[in-house]
């Protein structure tokens, strides 16, 4: 992704990437931030929490506190039924979109 294009693309898909990550198993903030940063989708943990906040306000995810191992309980995020449906719709739309874009701009 070029520097000019990537911020817009990233902002558009990062919510769905969060839904995708937590659809496999509940994850806590640091785990999500780490994976999204590795993928180049967010630049810091400061970008993650506004995304989580929007997803919670929209009713796509819920948060639950779990005690696993030593240390304080962590807040884990899980998708709601609505969030799972939204992810499912996005998966179908995304495939079609990528296909259509590839037809237009071509693949290297």
């Amino acid at each position: 992704m070029t520097a000019e294009l990537s911020p817009q693309l990233r902002k558009g898909v990062v919510e769905y990437c969060v839904l995708g990550l937590i659809s496999t198993r509940p994850m806590y903030g640091w785990e999500l931030a780490d994976q999204l940063q590795t993928a180049g989708l967010i630049s810091s943990i400061g970008t993650l929490y506004p995304v989580l906040s929007r997803l919670r306000e929209r009713g796509d995810i819920t948060m639950t506190e779990l005690q696993q191992g030593p240390g304080p309980a962590r807040k884990y995020y899980v998708p709601t039924k609505t969030g799972a449906q939204r992810l499912s719709t996005f998966r179908a739309d995304w495939g079609q979109l990528v296909h259509q874009i590839n037809l237009i701009v071509g693949e290297e």
Partner: protein, 203 residues
């Protein structure tokens, strides 16, 4: 010694983060702070120091959070998501029923349920709140009449208006409560609707 040094480093980092997050609105600032603190206190001393390095400058974290809030966010769109639609729906729900008794309120409800600016649970709350409030008022008067029917009336008629029959008093109370609840719900719908359609800034 290592533990003390780590503890101080963690405390210092969280203090700096708190200072930087002062320009980030709540509850977002607290969520970020709790998320970072949760991680730093859950890992070993060595890992905590590594995490602090990975997290980077607290000013950058706060700036990223702020910039995300100022960026355009997805809003409700499609049918029934314009400012005029939201305003018309709220107006009909509040005063529509007074101008066109019952019919105005029903049209307001149809617009509410057809609009894209509100979630289903918000529509349910807006629809049922006035009805439940009025129901509660009548239930209270009914219970009061049951309890007072078996007892002697007070000699000075205290607690009731002698000029009004009890049913009229109940009707007036129900009407007032319905209007007050309707106005409160309408104000809430207006704020939620305009915020979601992007006409006012989110909190």
């Amino acid at each position: 010694m290592e533990s003390d040094r780590t503890s101080t480093a963690v405390s210092d980092y969280l203090r700096r983060l708190d200072e930087e997050l002062e320009r980030v609105p709540e509850p977002l600032a607290s969520q970020i702070r709790e998320g970072v603190a949760e991680e730093l206190r859950s890992v070993s001393d060595e890992d905590a120091l590594t995490r602090i390095e990975q997290l980077g400058d607290p000013a950058h974290i706060a700036a990223e959070a702020s910039s995300d809030l100022t960026a355009p966010t997805p809003t409700a769109n499609g049918r029934g998501s314009s400012r005029a639609y939201v305003a018309a729906t709220v107006a009909l729900l509040t005063v529509g029923g007074l101008i066109f008794p019952i019919l105005g309120w029903i049209v307001g409800l149809i617009l509410l349920w057809s609009g894209a600016a509100w979630k289903t649970y918000e529509k349910v709350i807006a629809t049922l709140s006035p009805l439940i409030a009025v129901g509660l008022i009548y239930a209270m008067f009914w219970l009061f009449s049951l309890s007072s029917s078996g007892s002697e009336p007070a000699p000075d008629n205290s607690g009731s208006n002698p000029l009004l029959p009890a049913s009229t008093f109940a009707h007036w109370n129900a009407l007032i409560v319905a209007v007050v609840v309707n106005v409160a719900v309408a104000a809430w719908l207006l704020i939620v609707g305009l915020r979601r359609t992007g006409h006012i800034e989110p909190r």
